[in-house]
Amino acid sequence: MDEIKISAQDVNVFYGETHALQDVNVKIRDNTVTAFIGPSGCGKSTFLRCINRMNDTIEICRVKGDILIDAEDIYDRQVDPVQLRAKVGMVFQKPNPFPKSIYDNVAYGPRIHGLARNKPELDEIVEKSLRRAALWDEAKDRLGQPGTGLSGGQQQRLCIARAVATAPEVLLMDEPCSALDPIATAQIEELIDELRQNYCVVIVTHSMQQAARVSQHTAFFHLGHLVEYGETGQIFTNPQDKRTESYITGRIG
């Protein structure tokens, strides 16, 4: 059994008057891909964004309850959100490389966090990160070219390389394949499967098939509640909650 990496206790999130997440309790395992599924507005992305305090950037957003990573409360006053986000990397729906070279995209995080003492060390981090993201072979001869010149699937892998360059422990992915074609999607999914050996991966997806394919655990959110959380095979063959069954079989929106 893999160890618990992230532990959420009685998490409630409010956007102004809106109660977006209600009493979420969940323990997310390390070296595991955990998928969050549920209809739009169910709170799955909100919860994902709590894990690296992205919600701090939204003024009207309030988060109550505790989220622990390795038993450390990430909402503690002493935690620096910038440091936290180096430890908890994020990949977004649309590939968003910086308008810089492929090399600089990956080197950006290590530079601002001072992770490399010299150029050879930085080179090493860039190569290792691009390899982790299965982009090295395609990019190694064009590291100086702009990241925006890559194909959509390559750009997303570049964003994954950028996320892993700061040596994170958790990788959050918010619909990382929704802008990609089926082959690029399959490649990213295969990459996610490899990444789980080194990271705790949490992915939000609208595609239930994707959740089924890539994750070992699945959490179903509905109307701000975490309805069901379990082993992915069980969720998709024998869900315990009627709402989960209805959602995965396409009966509620």
């Binding site: 082959i183 399959a186 490649q187 999914e189 295969e190 499967d193 098939q209 089924a212 394919r213 992915t232 095979g233 998709f236 063959t237």
Partner: protein, 237 residues
């Protein structure tokens, strides 16, 4: 060999479920040989072993069906992958039935061991069982190799099993007509022969699944049916 999937976990799932089929097939092959040997050698201990061993075969069928359901739910297989998963479910059912027939054979062996032998029928039954076992071995190879020629060959060989069964059927009729004290043993032996003949049909069904997995089509029912015993006694038949 087919190209690998981009999602390597998909390939692993398909390999795992195929490995379970092979494991199940191996258990059934042993059960066929052991049950036939127990009959000829009047070895009730071996028969008891066959009866106990059927649990493992049944458990594998359940496991295979669960894995197949999981694979369908999680991977949404299409094309050849879908046919593979469907075939696996069908083949596991065929194998499970064969396992049951072996168990039944072993039960009857314990009864027959107490009775005088009926001619050389036990040996004839064992020859039939051995041939079915060879067919099963070949069809499982054909499944792994996706070898439709070998599968078609296995399918054709079922007519030999039918002929062996016809011959035994007539032999048992003769023994029963000669001496009514033979009836109990002959009834048991006849059920055994019939069950082995049914195993041949299940093996044939597996051969058809091989052809289905490769071609997407179940072969037509154009085999010559040589089991004529359904018409024995028919006036003018």
């Amino acid at each position: 060999m087919q190209d690998l999937h981009i999602a390597s976990a998909f390939d692993r799932d398909l390999e795992d479920i195929t490995a379970l089929i092979m494991k199940m097939g191996g258990l059934v092959e042993s059960a066929i040989l052991n049950s036939a040997n127990s009959l000829v050698d009047r070895d009730v201990e071996l028969a008891a072993k066959v009866r106990a061993g059927d649990k493992a075969i049944d458990a594998l069928e359940i496991q295979i069906n669960e894995e197949a359901a999981r694979l369908i739910a999680l991977r949404a297989p299409v094309g050849g992958d879908l046919r593979t998963v469907l075939s696996v479910m069908k083949i596991s059912h065929n194998l499970e039935r064969c396992g049951d027939y072996c168990k039944n054979l072993a039960k009857r062996t314990t009864v027959l061991a107490e009775m005088p032998p009926i001619g050389g029928s036990s040996n004839a039954i064992r020859r039939m069982a051995r041939e079915v076992e060879r067919m099963l071995k070949d069809v499982l190879d054909a499944y792994i190799q996706r070898d439709t020629e070998l599968a078609a060959d296995v399918r054709a060989r079922d007519t030999e099993i039918d002929q062996m069964y016809n011959a035994l059927f007539r032999e048992f009729l003769t023994h029963m007509m000669e001496d009514p004290r033979n009836i109990t043993a002959c009834m048991h032996l006849h059920f055994i022969a019939k069950n082995i003949e049914r195993m041949g049909d299940h093996v044939t069904s597996i051969a058809e699944q091989v052809i289905y997995v490769v071609s997407g089509e179940i072969p037509d029912e154009d085999r010559r049916k040589l089991d004529r015993t359904s018409f024995v006694g028919k006036v003018g038949g």
